[in-house]
């Protein structure tokens, strides 16, 4: 099933993981879906570039399972595993900021990809907000890696999040503005990222043409 490998970019994974995912995508009922869920979550936490593919794989598995067996075992296992990781996120961040960033990335990917009746999963709204709030804390803002993550998630799912609960988005942006204005030892890149996000949201989750030009085009200067 090499087309599957190519489609989901499985070549970067080790052989065991590859085989497991290939088998699952072929027939979800033939594999231990709890193992699959665990494997996917573990892989996503190690490698943030796998996150996007992980999202697509999860989506495909859930569709497949619903269609064949009208069941939701994989989704349940995935969410349970994800919730476990979310619960220990403080320790994860202490241990490794990169892993914490991967976790945020993955939770937001799931929020983005896995919809229920075309709506984002309500159960994930608060957890996602909790993660983003963590990222605007002073100690996180001094970390470019975390600011970059914050900016990326807001670009991807900010609008959906706001639609789900506007009040908390307002809160987040109070903190974001505070951070931009008052945080000491903020790198200029971090400040740039925050400013761009501020403008992005102010423009209704779109960047105006002039702002686009300012931030993203090469200007001979």
């Amino acid at each position: 099933m090499d087309s599957v490998c190519v489609e989901y970019k499985l070549q970067t994974l080790d052989a065991g993981a590859q085989n497991l995912l290939k088998a699952a995508l072929k027939d979800p009922r033939a594999v231990d879906l709890e193992k699959v869920a665990t494997a996917i979550v573990d892989l996503s936490l190690k490698d943030s570039s796998f996150c996007k593919e992980a999202g697509r794989i999860c989506y495909a598995l859930i569709q497949e399972e619903a269609k064949d067996a009208n069941s939701t075992v994989f989704r349940r296992n995935l969410l349970t595993r994800l919730q476990q990781e979310f619960t220990v996120r403080k320790e994860t961040r202490k241990r490794s900021v990169s892993q914490w960033v991967c976790l945020v990335n993955f939770i937001c990917t799931i929020f983005d990809y896995l919809k229920v009746n075309n709506q984002p999963m309500a159960a994930l709204v608060q957890p996602v907000y909790d993660c983003l709030f963590r990222l605007v804390q002073p100690d996180a803002l001094t970390n470019e890696e975390e600011v970059d993550c914050l900016a990326m998630q807001l670009h991807r799912i900010g609008e959906q999040l706001e639609r789900a609960e506007a009040g908390r988005m307002d809160e987040l942006f109070y903190a974001l503005r505070d951070g931009f204005l008052l945080q000491e030892r903020l790198s200029s890149m971090a400040r740039l990222l925050l400013l761009e996000v501020l403008e992005f949201r102010a423009g209704g989750w779109k960047l105006s043409d002039t702002a686009q030009q300012y931030y993203y085009s090469e200007v001979a200067n």
């Binding site: 349970t80 403080k90 990326m152 990222l193």
Partner: protein, 260 residues
């Protein structure tokens, strides 16, 4: 958006506001519950008991931030898997309701047009809209009970064997109508009777083969009246032995015990 493609800008000290407040004011002006915080307030710990905390905050925050439609009593802290499944069921129950309403309205309309009722319009469906059960929690509970019954090999075999148009009332079990008003006792009894009748289509018992029925509590077994042919009774009594020890194969596919 990749960091590399962004143009780096030099920000000089002079660009920042000269009159910025002192650092002691730094920190979020408001706690995550929306209240203005006094200075020196420690940051609320986001890591501790994450899943419980965010639920508490949500109920605190409800007054100011939650849109009215979502104000709903948080019965207990659930795991995400259950929450998502429940919200999915809620949506599908609501969809069912719309469809059902439309169906009885058209049935009413067409029965007014002619004396003979249409095939789908019978005493079970002819509840007028004002007599419908609309309480979401009740509908959800009933739907769950129906799902338990439909998630059996017996039900699968039944619907394959007897297509809807060949069903005879009294002989063939009918799924109770969750939209009609019934007392709790009446509904629970209907479900019991329905599930008992479905046992007639249980797959033939083999050595070591599991009967695919969910846990029957003893109360339910005791309630079964003796049929003249004794068939139903025999099967149930036999199942009583099996169901306590193992998870029925068919149930396993949808109701994995959550691993904590």
């Amino acid at each position: 958006m990749s960091s590399n493609s962004q143009k780096r800008r030099q920000i000089t000290g002079g660009d920042l506001r000269k009159n910025a407040p002192s650092p002691s004011h730094y920190g979020r002006k408001r706690g995550s519950d929306g209240q203005l915080r006094s200075q020196g307030d420690p940051q609320p710990s986001l890591g501790a008991k994450g899943e419980h905390r965010h639920t508490d905050n949500r109920s605190e925050r409800q007054a100011s931030f939650t849109t009215p439609e979502t104000v709903r009593p948080l019965s207990r802290c659930k795991d995400w898997g259950s929450e998502v499944e429940e919200s999915e069921m809620r949506m599908s129950v609501n969809r069912d309701m719309q469809r059902y309403r439309r169906r009885i309205l058209t049935a009413e309309f067409s029965s007014r047009e002619r004396k003979v009722s249409s095939g789908s319009c019978d005493s079970r469906d002819s509840a007028s809209p004002t007599e419908l059960e609309t309480d979401e929690n009740v509908l959800l509970r009933r739907q769950k009970q129906i799902n338990y019954g439909k998630n059996t090999l017996a039900y699968d075999r039944y619907i394959k064997e007897v297509p809807k148009h060949l069903r005879q009332s009294g002989v063939h079990p009918r799924t109770p109508n969750k939209f009609r008003k019934y007392s709790r006792r009446s509904w629970d009894q209907q479900i019991k009777m329905w599930k008992v009748k479905l046992h007639t289509w249980d797959p033939p018992a083999q050595d070591g083969d599991l009967q695919a029925i969910e846990q029957i509590d003893l109360g339910e077994v005791m309630d079964i009246e003796l049929d003249p042919d004794g068939e139903t009774c025999k099967t149930s009594a036999g199942d009583e032995m099996d169901c306590f020890s193992v998870t029925p194969r068919k149930m396993k596919k949808t109701e994995e015990l959550p691993q904590v």
